[in-house]
C-alpha cells in the first residue's frame, strides 16, 4: 500500500473531522450529540485500521520506516518548511497507542459528558487533540513536531478550563498555559538552532541513518540543542522543577484527565527526547542532566504523592513518578525499555483515571473482603526516619515540595510587581498625551432627555437631543 496515503490519512481523518465540526459550528450548525459521537467513533475506527495497515506495511515488507513528503509548506530565503511524515518502530507503537486511547476515551465520554452544556466543545477539543497528538508522533521533522506539540498544549489548557463558570479551573489553566509557554521556548529555539547548525530539522538528515552514522550535530552544538529540547520536554512531562502544574490540571473532566495526564500528553515530552536520542547521546552533559532530573522528579513525586488523600492528585503524582523513571531510562539510552514503559504506563493509568470516580465503591468491596483490616500504610520508609524528620518532610509534602510557593514568591510575584509598575507608568503616559478616554462619554441622563430643559413635559418643548 502507499506509504504517503497511509500517513496522510492518519492526520487527515481526525484533522478533517475537527475542521468540519469547527466550521460547521462557526456557520451555525448545532448538532445533537449522536452525529458528533458517531462521526468521532467512525473516524477513530478508521484511524485504527490505518495504523494496522501501517504495521502490515512495515512488518510485511521488512521496512524500518515509512515516510512521505508532501512538498513544502512555504519557502523563505534558504528556509523551507517540508511537510514530511514518518513512522518507525519508535513512533508507530505510540501512534497505535494514541489511536486506541483516543478511540476508547471518545466512547467513554459519549456517556460521561452526555447532556453537559459543553458536550460539543469537549468533542471538538478531543478531536483536535487527536489530530495534534497523531501529527506530533508522525511528524517527519522537528519543525512539524512543533505544530502537533502546540495543538496538544492548547487543547490541554482549554480542557483544564472546561468548567469555565468557576474560577479555580480557569486560574489553573492559566498557570498550565504559562508553564507550557515558558518551556515551549526550548523547543522553538532548539529547532531554530538545528537550522542554524545543520540547515534542516528533517529526521532523514539530522538523525543517523543508512547514509550517516552520527547526527551532524556535534560537540557544543549538540549540547545546546539537546538541552533546549530537554527544557521543552520537562514542561510537558511535568519534571522537577516545573512539575507544579500537573496536579492543577486535574480540574478538567475525568476522561480528559485520563488521556492527557495519564496517557498521551505527558508522554509527549518523553517521545521528544526519544526522537532526539542521537543528539542527546552526543552530549554526556545533557544525558546526565536527564538522569538527574528524572531521579529528582521520581523521588519528589513519590514523596508528595504519598501524602495526597484524594483520588486525582494521587494519580497525578503517581504518573509523575513513572515519568521520572522514563526520563532516567532515556538518559541511559535504553530506548526500547522506555518505549515499553510508556505503553504499559499509559494503559494502566488511563484505566485508573477512568475508574477514579468509582473509588469509593471499589474500596468498600476490598475493605469488606479483607475482613475490615487493610494493613496500615506508610510504615515502611517513614518508620526509618526520626519523628522530627518525618514531620518536617510531611510539611514539605503538604506544600508539594514548595514548587509552587517558590515560583510564586520568586518568579510570579516579582513579574506581577513589575507588570503592575509598568501599567501605572503607562497610565501616566497616556494621561499625559491623550487625556482620559472616559472623559468624552456622554452622560446617560442627557441621552435619556431627563435633564431640565429637555423634556417636553417639563418645558413643553420637543426634546432637543435626537
Amino acid at each position: 500500500m502507499n506509504e504517503s496515503l497511509l500517513l496522510g490519512l492518519l492526520i487527515l481523518l481526525p484533522g478533517g473531522l475537527c475542521a468540519a465540526l469547527g466550521f460547521g459550528w462557526l456557520f451555525g450548525w448545532k448538532p445533537t450529540e449522536r452525529p458528533v459521537t458517531r462521526l468521532t467513533t467512525i473516524c477513530y475506527s478508521l484511524v485504527l485500521l490505518v495504523v494496522a495497515a501501517m504495521w502490515w506495511e512495515l512488518l510485511g515488507n521488512g521496512k524500518t520506516q515509512l515516510s512521505a513528503v508532501y512538498g513544502d509548506w512555504f519557502h523563505v530565503g534558504h528556509y523551507h518548511f517540508p511537510l514530511a511524515l514518518w513512522a518507525d518502530f519508535i513512533s508507530l507503537p505510540l501512534l497505535t497507542l494514541s489511536a486506541l486511547l483516543v478511540f476508547l476515551v471518545s466512547v467513554f465520554s459519549r456517556r460521561y459528558i452526555h447532556r453537559d452544556v459543553g458536550f460539543f466543545r469537549f468533542f471538538m477539543l478531543l478531536n483536535l487533540f487527536g489530530a495534534g497528538i497523531l501529527l506530533f508522533f508522525a511528524a517527519g521533522s522537528f519543525d512539524l513536531m512543533i505544530g502537533g506539540w502546540e495543538i496538544v498544549g492548547i487543547t490541554s489548557v482549554l480542557l483544564i478550563a472546561f468548567f469555565q463558570h468557576r474560577d479555580d479551573p480557569v486560574l489553573s489553566a492559566l498557570r498550565v498555559f504559562a508553564t507550557y509557554r515558558a518551556c515551549d521556548v526550548g523547543l522553538l529555539t532548539g529547532v531554530v538552532l538545528m537550522h542554524i547548525y545543520v540547515g534542516t530539522s528533517e529526521f532523514t538528515e539530522i538523525l543517523p541513518n543508512n547514509i550517516q552514522q552520527h547526527t551532524p550535530l556535534l560537540g557544543s552544538a549538540a549540547t545546546i540543542t539537546a538541552f533546549l529540547l530537554l527544557l521543552a520536554a520537562m514542561g510537558k512531562a511535568a519534571q522537577v522543577p516545573v512539575s507544579g502544574w500537573l496536579p492543577r490540571a486535574m480540574e478538567g473532566p475525568t476522561p480528559s484527565s485520563a488521556i492527557f495526564y495519564g496517557a498521551l500528553s505527558v508522554h509527549a515530552g518523553a517521545y521528544l527526547l526519544l526522537r532526539a536520542q542521537p543528539i542527546i547521546a552526543a552530549s554526556s552533559f545533557v544525558s546526565e542532566s536527564i538522569i538527574v532530573i528524572g531521579l529528582l522528579t521520581a523521588l519528589h513525586a513519590t514523596f508528595v504523592g504519598r501524602a495526597c488523600p484524594d483520588a486525582k492528585n494521587a494519580l497525578a503524582y503517581a504518573s509523575m513518578a513513572q515519568l521520572g523513571i522514563i526520563f532516567i531510562e532515556i538518559g541511559f539510552g535504553w530506548q526500547q525499555l522506555a518505549l515499553w514503559h510508556i505503553a504499559g504506563h499509559a494503559l494502566i493509568r488511563t484505566l485508573q483515571f477512568l475508574r477514579a470516580p468509582s473509588m469509593l465503591h471499589d474500596h468498600h468491596r476490598v475493605h469488606a473482603a479483607a475482613g475490615g483490616h487493610l494493613g496500615a500504610t506508610g510504615i515502611y520508609f517513614e518508620s526509618l526516619l526520626p519523628q522530627r524528620a518525618q514531620h518536617w518532610l510531611y510539611r514539605l509534602a503538604l506544600d508539594r515540595g514548595h514548587h509552587d510557593t517558590f515560583l510564586d514568591r520568586f518568579v510570579v510575584g516579582p513579574v506581577l510587581h513589575l507588570a503592575g509598575w509598568m501599567r501605572r507608568i503607562e497610565g501616566k503616559w497616556v494621561d499625559y498625551f491623550g487625556g482620559n478616554i472616559n472623559g468624552h462619554h456622554k452622560p446617560l441622563a442627557t441621552k435619556a432627555g431627563v435633564l431640565t430643559g429637555q423634556s417636553s413635559l417639563l418645558q413643553n418643548t420637543e426634546s432637543a437631543d435626537v
Partner: protein, 975 residues
Amino acid sequence: MTVERTNNQEPLQHLQHAIDHAAHFLPDQGPIGVFIHHNTLHAFQHLKFEDAVQQAARLFETEPFMTEAAFRKDFAAGRITPENLDVVLSREADAEILPGGVTRRKLRRAMLVPGLRAIAADNIEWLMDENGLLDFSRPDLDSATRNDLLAGKDERTAIRDLFAACFHRMPKSETVSPAMPQRPRDAVLAATGTDTDEIINTWLIRLCSTFLDQGQSYWPMPLREQGFYQSVCALMSQPGLLPPSLLSGLKNVFQRQQLKRMTSAEVVLDCLNKLDAPQVEWESLLTAELLSLPGWAGLMHKLEREPALVPHEPIPCSLMDFLAVRMTLTLVAFENVKTSGEISQWRQPILPAPVTEAEQMAEAARVFDVAQLLGLSAEKIQSLSRDEFNSFLAEINAFGDWERRRVWHLAYEHWHELEILRPLLTYRAEIDPRRSANRPAAQVIFCIDEREESVRRALEEIAPNVETLGAAGFFGVAVNYQGLDDAHGAAFCPVVVTPQHAIQERPSESDQHLSNQRQSRRKLWAQIAHNSFIGSRTLVRGWVGALGLGWLSVFPLVTRVLTPRQAGNLYARLGNLFLPSPNTELTLLRDDTASHEKSAENAEGLLLGFTIQEKADRVAGTLRAAGLIENHSRLVAIMGHGSTSLNNPHESAHDCGACGGRRGSPNARMFAAMANHPQVRERMSEQGMNIPVDTWFVGGYHDTCNDVVEFFDTSAIPATHADEFAKLAESLDRAREANALERARRFEAAYRDTTPKAALRHVEERAEHLAEPRPEYGHATNAVCVVGRRSLTRGLFMDRRAFLISYDPDRDPKLDSLAAILGAAGPVCAGINLEYYFSFVDNERYGCGTKLPHNVTGLVGVMNGQGSDLRTGLPWQMVEVHEPVRLLLIVENTPDNVMNAVRRSAMVTELVENRWIRLATMSPDGSLHVYRDGEFEPMTEIVPLPQTATSPDWFLGKLEHLPIARVAATAAHAS
C-alpha cells in the same frame, strides 16, 4: 484567684456557646459512604418555609427559589397558568395603593405577567440605544392600557415624558449606610483587593483532607491522633521551610502557641482578643469564618458529635481545633497584607461605592416600566402627591425579585396540587376503598419509596390478582446486621433509631467449609487488589507493574469501555467461579429465659437476636400498620431495595433511606424468617393477629438501578407453595422489565420506543458503566406521599412520583398506627424531598454542582477538581429532572384525626405547621381537604380523568413528567 477564674471561664463558656450557635448553620452531611437525605435547611426549620428560605439565602448567599426566568419558561409552557397566579395572589392581603383603583393585587399581577423587563445599571444604556427603551411603549400592553398610557400624545413623546416624570419623582438617593465587615478578610478585601481566603482556604483544604483521610493516602498525617490543632501546630511550626508570602511568620506564631502550651480554645480566645471583637459579635464573626469553608467545617463538626460515623479510622475531631487553626491563619494573613493597618482596627465600616448615574436611571426605569404596565401616563405620575408616589414606590420595592419568585413558586406548587388532588378525588368517587374479601393470589410488600410505585403498578397490571402494599423498607426490624461478607455490623434502620439487637448471617453447618474457603479466597483477592492499588502508585512497584503488567490493563480497559454490561457479567461470573457460595442462616433466635443476661449480648452491648415476643411484636406491628390484619394470601413476599452503580460516589444516596442509606435485603429476609416461625405465629394469634397456617412469607430484594429481583431462602419454601412462588417470581420478572422500560423513558441515552427486554439491558448497562453519571435518577421524581389504602391509587399512573404508605383508617381507631407512620415516614420523606428541592434551586451552593469534575477525597466526600471545599448536597446529574415542589402529603383520614396524629410528633408538627410539607386529607367518606395556614379547606372539583389501556401506552416516547391517568386493565379489576 476566684476573680481570675471567672474572668477566664466566662469568655470560654461564651465562646463555646457562640460556636454551638454558629455550627448550627453548617451542613449536616456525614461521610459520603453512607448518605442520609435530610432537610438542607434543618437549622431554619423553626421558621415558616417561605421566610426560612429567604433568611437562609441571605446568610448563605444562595437562591431561595428557582429563578424568575425559569418560572417564566414554565409559564410559557403552561406549567403555571394565570389562574394559579390569581389564586395565590387572592390569598394575600389586598389594598388600594393609588387613587383610581390601582390595587396591590393588580400591581403584583402585572409585575408577574407580563412582568418587569430586566433593566439594570449595566444594560440600561444598551436598552436605550439598541432596544428603543425610551422610544416605544412596551409591546405587550393591551390597547386600553396603551391608550391610558399615551394619553393622546405621540408614542415617543409620551414615553420620554413618562421616563422623565419617573426620574424626577424619585426621592433623592439616600446615602447608603456603610456595611460593617463580617470578618477580617472582608476588611482586607475592601481595603486592598487582596482576598486572604485564597491562601487560607488552600491550606485548610489540604490540612483538613489529610487529617480526615480514612485510608486513601499512603502516608497518614502525623500526630493526628492528638487532634487537628495539635497536629497542624506541630507540622506548621517546622523550621527551615518556605511559607507562601501571605503566611510568612506563621511558623513563629505556632511555635509561640506551642511554647505556651495553649489549648485550641485559648488560641481562639487569644485571636478574638487581638481582633478586639466584642463578645456580642463573636457568633457572627465565627459564623462567617466557618461559612467560608462550610463543607470541611461541617464534616469536622459532624464527626465531633457523632464519632461513630467515621467509616474506618477514628479521628478526634473538634470544631474548636478547626477554628483555632483558621483564626491563626487569618491573623497571620492579615498582618502580612501591609496596607491593611492595625489588626485591632479591622472593624471599620466599609464605604459602599457611590451610586452611579446608571444605577439611578435603572431605579427610575423600574417605576417607569410598572407605570407602563398599569397604564399610568406621565401626567398621572406628575399629579401624585409626594406621599402617594413614595408609597407607590414602596409597594413596587416590596415586591422585589425574591417576593415575586415566592409568588411564582406558590403558583407553581398550586398547579401541581390541582394536578394531583383533583384526579385522586375523582377516582375516589368511583371506587370502593375497602379491601376485597377475596383472597389474593399473593401479597407483595414493597418499601414506601416512590421508585417502587412503578414496579408495583407493573406487577398489578401483569398479575391483577396480586395485592401490593407499602411499608417503610426496614419493615420494623431495626437491627445491627452483619452479613457473611461484611467486615462489621451496621445499623439497618432509620437514622433516628438506635438498634438494640444484633443479627449475623452465618453459614449453615453443612456449608462451614465452603464459607471458610470463600473468606480465605476473598482475603487473598483483597490482598492482591489492595497491594496492586498501592503498588501502582508507588515508585519501584509502579515501575515493575507498568513494565510487566501494564499492557494487561488493555483487556479491562477495552471491555469495560466498549461493552460495559457484558464485561460486568463476565467479571461477576468469574467471581462466582472463584468464590463458593455457602447456604446461610440468620442468628435470629434468642432464648427467652436468657434474654437479658450478659451472655446474650455482643461486644457492643447489643442483644443477640430477638425473642419470640420481640419477633411477634415486629411482624404484627408492621402488618397491622399496613392494614394487613386479615385475609392474608398463601404467599406473602417482602421486598427490600437498594441500588448498585459505578462512577457514583453518591451511590449510597440511592439505597433505602429507611435502612439508614443501606440496602434493605437483610431486613426483608429477617422479616420473612420471623413471620414463618411457628411459635411467632402462635404468639401473634394469641394477641389477635391471625395469619392462616397456609400463609408463607418469602423475603426478596429489588435493585432500583439494574432492576434485579431476587429472593432469599427459596429452598425453604414448602412444596405446596412452589407453584405459587414460581408464578409470582415469573410475574415479578416481567414486572421488572416493565419497570426498566418505564425508567428508560426518562433517559435521553436510551432509545425511544424500546422493548422491555432492551430496556432491561439498558438499565443493567447503566449500573456497570464506568462513565455513567446517572446510573439512575434516584428520588428525582418525588413530589407526593399518599398514606392510605392502595385502593386510592391502584389503577392510577402516578409516574413514580408518590411515596405510597399502606394504612387503613378503618383499622386504626386510636390513631396509633397513623401517628407511628407519620412520625417515622414524615421526616424521612420530607428530608428526601427538601434535599432535592434545595439541591435543585441552587445546585452550586446547596447541591454539589456537576459531577464531572468530582474527585473522591479521603473516602469521606468529593471535592471539585484538585482541591476545593468538600461538596455537600446532591449533584446536578441526580436532580436535573426534579420539579422543586414541597412534598404533598395526602393522608386517608378525617382532618381532625390527621391533626391529632400529627401533633403526637413535635418534628412532624413543625414540618406541617411551618409548611415544609403540604398536607391534604382524604376522609373515609371520600371528601378531600387541603391544609392552609391552620385551616382545612375543602376541595370538591371533579375533573375528567384521562384513561390509558396500559402504562406503556401512556409514557412511551415521552421524557417529561406526565399527569395521572387511569390504567384501564388494573382499574377495572380494582373496582
